[in-house]
């Protein structure tokens, strides 16, 4: 994997130089946290099943970060690198294609993780976030969900001919996922019809998985979510592998 770590490191630096990428991953979740936190606080609230708004929303916002990284950031970054000819240039070296893909995954995972850690730290410091789950289970769920949505991002970049198309596809998928999954607006506030529609939204399963693990549910209670996300991962990987183009 010669070149891989250097590439990952340069990609991280480039990422941090682009405020638009960091906005959705790092700043937007914090903005939501402070808006809804200032409205509802984190006191137990019957509206959120007797839990605090911040306790319920923080794992949901983690899902939002994962969704935006996969559906927007990765889809756009990979397709625009291809469109501009960056991938072509890499291909004209001995660098292995796997190193390019792996560096994208590592960089975006680290940035997603960074966004999540900043969110959790802010929620804890400002609103006294409580955590009753097991950290390693939350991390596992977070990782599975990230890989699934990243795979979908690669799928979008593969099927879209241009960066513009990838951007539009990403947006079209992102907003229903964002609003119908409960990742931004707590699904406790949804009418029943909307809640059942939400079952068909992939990000709903990330919200359910992360909230459940956050509150300390046994992993066995989340087999459905794990299966859905593993399926998404498999579809993303298979379709991307078949359709991905370097130019």
């Amino acid at each position: 994997m010669r070149g891989f770590w250097k590439l990952a490191w340069v990609e991280i630096k480039i990422y941090l130089r682009q405020p638009q990428a960091a906005f959705f991953t790092i700043f937007f979740p914090l903005i939501l946290l402070f808006i809804f936190g200032s409205i509802y606080g984190n006191d137990p609230n019957p509206l959120f099943g007797g839990r605090g708004m911040v306790d319920v929303s923080t794992p949901a916002y983690l899902a939002m970060i994962i969704g935006s990284t996969g559906l927007l950031t990765i889809a756009i970054a990979v397709s625009s690198d291809r469109e501009k000819g960056v991938l072509r240039r890499y291909r004209a070296t001995p660098l292995r294609p796997a190193a390019v893909l792996a560096s994208q995954i590592v960089v975006h995972f680290l940035m997603t993780l960074l966004g999540g850690i900043l969110l959790i730290a802010a929620a804890r410091l400002v609103y006294g976030l409580t955590f009753t789950g097991r950290a390693e289970m939350v991390f596992l769920g977070f990782t599975l969900a990230s890989l699934s949505f990243f795979a979908v991002g690669f799928l979008l970049a593969s099927v879209a001919r241009t960066a513009r198309t990838a951007y539009i596809l990403g947006m079209v998928l992102y907003f229903p996922n964002l609003f119908l999954s409960g990742a931004t607006i707590p699904k406790e506030t949804f009418p029943a019809a909307l809640r059942s529609a939400g079952k068909f939204i992939p990000l709903t399963h990330v919200v359910n998985l992360l909230q459940g693990l956050w509150f300390g549910n046994a992993p066995a209670e989340h087999v459905l979510e794990a299966v859905v996300l593993a399926g998404l991962l498999a579809v993303g990987v298979v379709v991307s592998a078949k359709t991905f183009r370097w130019e």
Binding site: L7, V86, R89, T93
Partner: protein, 313 residues
């Protein structure tokens, strides 16, 4: 140019590549010797880029055999790319990548990179080390791409349309850079559609049109093969009657247009004969210059002929 088969940098034989029904490259074969600057020229759509990409191992050929530095570009592509330098016609780096980061990054892709700082200095972009890719001018980007093509100290450098989009000044300094690469003992394979560039730089030129080779020789030989004459142009007094010049040896045509005169003819001594005759006749001539065919005329003649062949088919 004498090259032994074992020492050739590139050997291609019966190379073919089609895109659907379009035959981009139609069974071409040639050999490039080590240390040569070899030019591939042809009109747009002639198959130049397809050919160069097949040689680089970036594109699979449909048929034929290729050896580049003794390797099969398709099966041994990674090994080959360790040893070649590539400047692509269309490529880019991420906008926010700095020049030094690109050099450092690309160096890490190779087994045996050389120090990249001297490369930047040689290409006169060392002062741009901290500049992001998006902040470079067209010429600076091209310099950076050449620098990136040299980080592995390649034996063979591919340059695809190196000077397209550059102003004449930047183009000339690119030519010096290419000569400098060859002086360091490397082989250069370039494509261009500027005939002046091919004439100035290349030891041999392969003229390609619609996937076929229509000529392959040194620029001087290609020009000689055109068997076109020389035009001598000068200014003299309106009263001068040039018709006696017609009887001079080698002169084929004499024209007068006000005070501008033109004498056309053939033969290596033509200029000498005409100037002597003018001098003996006491003609005060000024602004004398000679116009000889260049590679552009060869190119136009060859591609026009090939156009005709196409219609015959």
């Amino acid at each position: 140019m004498t090259t032994t088969t074992g020492g050739a940098a590139i050997q291609a034989e019966g190379l073919r590549k089609s895109y659907g029904r379009l035959e981009a490259v139609n069974g071409i074969g040639f050999e490039v010797g080590r240390g040569e600057i070899f030019g591939l020229v042809g009109p747009n759509g002639a198959g130049k880029t397809t050919t160069i990409e097949c040689l680089e191992g970036l594109r699979g050929a449909d048929g034929g055999t290729m050896r580049v530095l003794g390797l099969d570009p398709r099966r041994e592509g990674y090994e080959l790319r360790e040893r070649i330098g590539v400047q692509l016609q269309q490529s880019a780096l991420p906008d926010d990548m700095k020049v030094w980061e690109a050099m450092d990054l690309f160096s890490s892709y190779y087994r045996n990179p050389v120090a990249w700082q001297p490369i930047l200095e040689r290409l006169a972009i060392a002062d741009k080390k901290q500049t992001r890719f998006a902040g470079l001018s067209g010429g600076q980007k091209q310099r950076l791409f050449i620098a990136l093509a040299l980080v592995n100290d390649p034996e063979l450098v591919f340059l695809d349309e190196l000077t397209t989009g550059l102003d004449p000044h930047a183009r000339r300094s690119m030519w010096d850079l290419v000569r400098g690469i060859r002086e360091r003992g490397k082989t250069v394979f370039l494509t261009t559609h500027f005939m002046e560039e091919a004439e100035q730089l290349c030891d041999r030129v392969l003229v390609m049109d619609r996937g076929r080779i229509i000529a392959l020789d040194s620029p001087a030989n290609l020009i000689r093969s055109l068997r076109a004459g020389t035009d001598i142009l000068f200014t003299a007094d309106r009263a001068f009657d040039p018709s006696p010049l017609r009887s001079l040896s080698g002169v084929t045509r004499v024209e007068k247009n006000g005070e501008r005169f033109s004498v056309s003819g053939t033969g290596d001594r033509l200029v000498c004969i005409v100037v002597n005759a003018l001098d003996e006749a006491g003609v005060l001539f000024r602004d004398l210059r000679t116009v000889q065919p260049d590679l552009e005329d060869v190119f136009l003649a060859l591609t026009a002929r090939s156009e005709g062949d196409g219609e015959d088919r």
